[in-house]
Symmetry: C2
Subunit: 220 residues, 2 copies
């Protein structure tokens, strides 16, 4: 495999970046099944996209394949992990231990992406001090010290919508949090300084599903 240094990120479009997690998932699957090498054609068929799309996407980062030999699955997987920042071992906290917080705490999705959840926080005195998924639920009064002592960079925001913005501002201004995985349903983009925000609106995809179903019904 050629090892060409990827060009700086500014040359990579957001669209390509958005597709990388999908490559990551498929490559992980291939590794699990013991596949060592795959052609862009076979990978394309698996992922239901064109092989030229694959070649184009991966070329953005310098290209990882050798013509006629296909891609080395493990190398490609590791390169994509590196590009995605999964080797940086970001530390995260979960803020809000309601149903969503609980579904996320202890979820293997963090570990698979190299993110470690190091703290859980809530305001409910009835659950503070109890353990969940091997971690103690702490009061919000400890959050500032905790984030600083543990170099936390990501907050998983699982608080009610009404609290989303004020909690995020506090975490950004006082606790040094730079990235928000935002499940609060409060749209935070452009509201929290230069923080990086991924707003999760689960309901949006449910609506898309309803739309497609109702179209299907109309066609009948």
């Amino acid at each position: 495999m050629n090892s060409i240094t990827p060009p700086p990120s500014k040359y990579v479009s957001k669209a390509v970046i958005k597709r990388l997690p999908r490559y990551f998932r498929y490559l992980r699957e291939l590794i699990r099944n013991g596949t060592l090498r795959i052609s862009s054609k076979d990978l394309a068929a698996k992922m239901n996209i064109t092989s030229s799309q694959i070649r184009q996407d991966l070329n953005c980062f310098g290209g990882f394949g050798q013509q006629g030999y296909g891609y080395n699955v493990m190398s490609l997987y590791m390169e994509i992990s590196k590009i995605l920042g999964l080797e940086e071992n970001f530390k995260a906290i979960i803020v809000g231990m309601g149903n969503i917080g609980k579904a996320l705490a202890g979820n293997p999705l963090f570990e698979k992406r190299g993110v470690s959840v190091s703290g859980l926080f809530d305001i409910n005195p009835e659950i503070i001090g109890s353990e969940y998924a091997g971690l103690k639920i702490r009061p919000m009064t400890e959050i500032e010290d905790f984030c600083k002592q543990n170099s936390v960079s990501i907050a998983v925001l699982a608080v009610p919508k009404s609290e989303g913005e004020s909690v995020a501002k506090f975490l950004y201004n006082e606790c040094g949090i730079k990235g928000f995985w935002n499940f609060s349903n409060m749209e935070l983009s452009n509201k929290i300084g230069d923080a990086i925000i991924e707003n999760i609106h689960l309901g949006d995809t449910l609506m898309t599903l309803c739309y497609e179903l109702s179209q299907r019904n109309k066609e009948k």
Copy 2:
């Protein structure tokens, strides 16, 4: 407000449809704040897109605004709800009552979008028969009859990845389920007949967040 019949769905691009849930959310917010009318310019500023994008999007459905008067917020909200199929009162079941299933059962996001969750299912004998969010958790052996008797069209798939495909196939083939809100992390597109599938890969957005954070760190 002009009431022009929307053109058939085939003329509406997937990109526009994907943006409609966002309009829906912002309009809901405006209604809550008592705003009756809004110009495309003000709506654009709120949503952080251009006003020409808004006019273009809403024109796909026949246009709802009157020049110089802006949009009637309630009418626009109701029209978008109708387009999205939210007035059809789809019935859903949740299959798999682990952490994700629990976070979704009783979550107001269904009701807000006109979807009613009518049944919860699991294979774990320890929780079958117990109540959660006001509904009884039922055994999988009852799922076929339940779906048919209750005209269920959506399954929220919250089973482990290894079970995702087989459970989905059973629900599609035997239970008449046509839409899948798929949290199993098993990619189901093109695998389940002509079913409509929304695959939710929460981890993908976490990876995008890690990518942006690591780029930020490199720039420093």
